[in-house]
Symmetry: C2
Subunit: 423 residues, 2 copies
């Protein structure tokens, strides 16, 4: 590794990826590349590279395993320390045990309890510290001075090379690939896939996709180098690094075809499409590439074969349930409104009639008499109904407003005039 450390920032080469592919061959799953079933409703031929089907549910395993084997003797005694949002931690816990290397993972305190639990079950020492990945990384750097552990981050050259094997598999599995879209956290996966795909098929377009809540790679490209960006809570928490990795950036710069910035709303939509159409569980970061297609950010790929890398599927079940419900709300399939009912039986009856006749399904109804500013003969009802589709939702809304002009609806996507790349 001497030459790598002397050469900072490190620009990844295809040779490193090729070597990584041999190194990790026996320890990772060659995940399926399958045609997306949602393609039948879209103008794109979308394929999914299902890295969510790795044993610990993400492509991070490829990078971590390559690093653990690559550093070999350097880490045999004291082991490694890995700051992570979850995917790197789970991968390190699993492969550390299988290779007999002690692993400490450092997770932000807001990591879902089930992830921390899983790392611990797999055999890692788990430390919960700080609010962000930067806090965790800072803590890890401080600790390792005494512990003599080796720090592994996603910007590590071995990790980037391991991640690049995703690109090798894509071009091998589908040589006709026209474009690959890759979710971007710190950029390591994008860097690896970019070098692999461009080498194996020079006409292949490569795009990065990141969430608008943490647009660090777009900002780095605009600024000519990694800079810190403000980050906001996002469903794609795996992408919430505040700054691009220096090695990843150096590798990507001048080689990437385009960087895409995806709205949060399309991430929840994509997540639900994955569940409903593909029957696959992916996390918010994992669906970022698909979300970019759904948002209509790549019109030039209409009719072409676009591979979306589904980088991971580690979403906490509780969060998944909440996401589905919010997603149904955002799509207008769950609709929330408040309506003033006169205090006589016909008020509720009229409401019930509209609900029944429009084939919507009542989900909840809570009445409020105490804190109401309207007249005392009125009861406010807070109602949630499930609708069949957008059309049904709009019709229901119109009809309700005819009878109850004071009805107030919670804002949903269908009110906004977003254009979706879906027929």
């Amino acid at each position: 590794m001497e030459e790598l450390q002397n050469n900072y920032p490190h620009v990844l080469t295809f040779n490193e990826i090729k070597k990584a592919a041999e190194t990790i061959e026996d320890g990772i799953i060659h995940t399926p590349l399958c045609e997306a079933k949602m393609t039948k409703f879209m103008d794109y031929n979308v394929y999914l590279k299902c890295e969510n089907l790795q044993y610990t549910g993400s492509c991070a395993e490829r990078g971590i395993r390559n690093a653990l084997i690559g550093y070999g003797n350097d880490i045999a005694g004291h082991g490694v320390i890995v700051p992570s949002h979850g995917n790197m931690a789970l991968a390190a816990a699993y492969h550390g045990v299988s290779l007999g290397i002690p692993v400490t993972v450092v997770l932000p305190e807001n990591t879902p309890p089930s992830h921390a639990q899983r790392c611990s079950e797999l055999g890692a020492d788990v430390v919960l510290v700080g609010d962000t990945l930067q806090d965790s990384t800072f803590y890890a750097k401080k600790v390792l001075r005494d512990s003599h552990q080796l720090l592994i981050t996603s910007d590590d050259p071995y990790v980037m090379a391991g991640l690049g094997t995703v690109g090798v598999e894509i071009i091998t599995q589908l040589p006709e690939t026209d474009a690959v879209i890759v979710p971007v956290a710190s950029g390591a996966l994008l860097a690896g896939v970019l070098i692999a795909c461009k080498k194996l098929k020079c006409s292949c377009l490569v795009y990065g996709a990141e969430c608008s809540k943490a647009p660090k790679m777009m900002k780095a490209l605009q600024s000519g180098g990694p800079v810190n960006v403000a980050t906001f809570p996002s469903l794609a928490d795996g992408l919430s690094a505040a700054v691009a990795g220096p090695n990843a950036f150096a590798t990507i710069k001048g080689r990437l075809d385009r960087m895409l910035v995806v709205d949060e709303m399309y991430i929840s939509r994509a997540l639900i499409s994955m569940l409903e159409c593909e029957r696959l569980v992916a996390d918010g970061a994992g669906v970022c590439a698909i979300a970019a297609v759904m948002q209509g950010l790549v019109p030039e790929l209409r009719g072409k074969r676009a591979v979306c890398v589904v980088s991971g599927g580690n979403i906490d079940s509780g969060r998944l349930a909440r996401t589905i419900q919010r997603g149904l709300g955002a799509n207008g399939r769950l609709m929330r409104f408040a309506v003033a009912l006169p205090d006589n039986r016909s008020g509720l009856e009229q409401l019930a009639k509209i609900i029944a006749e429009e084939s919507t399904v009542l989900k909840s109804l809570v009445t409020e008499q105490m804190w109401v500013h309207s007249d005392v003969a009125t009861t406010w009802a807070n109602v949630v109904v499930e609708t069949v589709n957008d059309e049904n939702a709009v019709k229901f809304k119109d009809r309700l407003r005819d009878i109850f002009p004071s009805a107030r609806f919670a804002i949903t996507d269908i009110d906004e005039k977003h254009k979706v790349g879906v027929r």
Copy 2:
């Protein structure tokens, strides 16, 4: 088909399955057979035959396609009518369009709106009628006298033969299979898989798994023939047929190794394990075989290779979200309790302290002062917290009871002493 119709009930033969395999070859997906990741935590080598990854999300496509092609000229003009809970309907809608055959599907009125919508989008005429599959079938039979459509049910010999191709694929994909466990609705899938597997590998054990809320096949085996059983709402609504199919029963009788009856609770557990460990979406019916293993119903298969057929993945998103939340509740990971807080600041503070110190996460807290029977200086709080695991839940409970002896917990699995086949 003459010989079939004259020979009632019809006992399925391997030749019919072989012919079906050739007939449907080009129109269905050869779904993956993969090692279950949850196997690492169990004493069994469980494999999953992922029929949830068919285009419309279930193995019903195999049966329906074989019937639509097999009946050929009989249905070219008037088309077919298919009463269904969902999977058969979706399969018929999809393959009907692809083969140019008009399809009417009859669904019970409580079918999730998204399923009916999907059938309609795929091009089928959709009729919603009655409360149960029996009502839908009764309606379909009445209508077709005038419409001259052909009725296709799951007990159709062509359908059974098509479903049997699942068994052929299992033995081809994993010749070392020791046992196959198959979810049982009316029994057609079990009949097909049974005949195929026993023919191709006579030592292969074949089990059926059905839900205790509709144990029609167990009852039929005990009674020597199909009889109606009382059915209750279940997460595995796809299995809620009240009576075994006569053809399926005649095929299964005397050949089946064992019938397993699974508790509802293990179906929701299995569904969550599929999401969390396998990153696959399956419906309640689809996880019935896995649930049987988790419930410890097949101890004789410890250490052996057991293939669980994941028959389908058509679960409505809203229902999926609810199931996850109930499942988390059943597993003790969401815990609900009511506690009497004295009306002074220390009451809430003590509660908050226990929640924080035990690393549980507060999900909701609603206070109630009006309808309380205890003294007026007390506020009841209804609380939901998320716990890390069973151990954490038990510890939290003990500690809360020490401070608040009147605390009342909603009943969860961990209170019951069920034995699970999980280490």
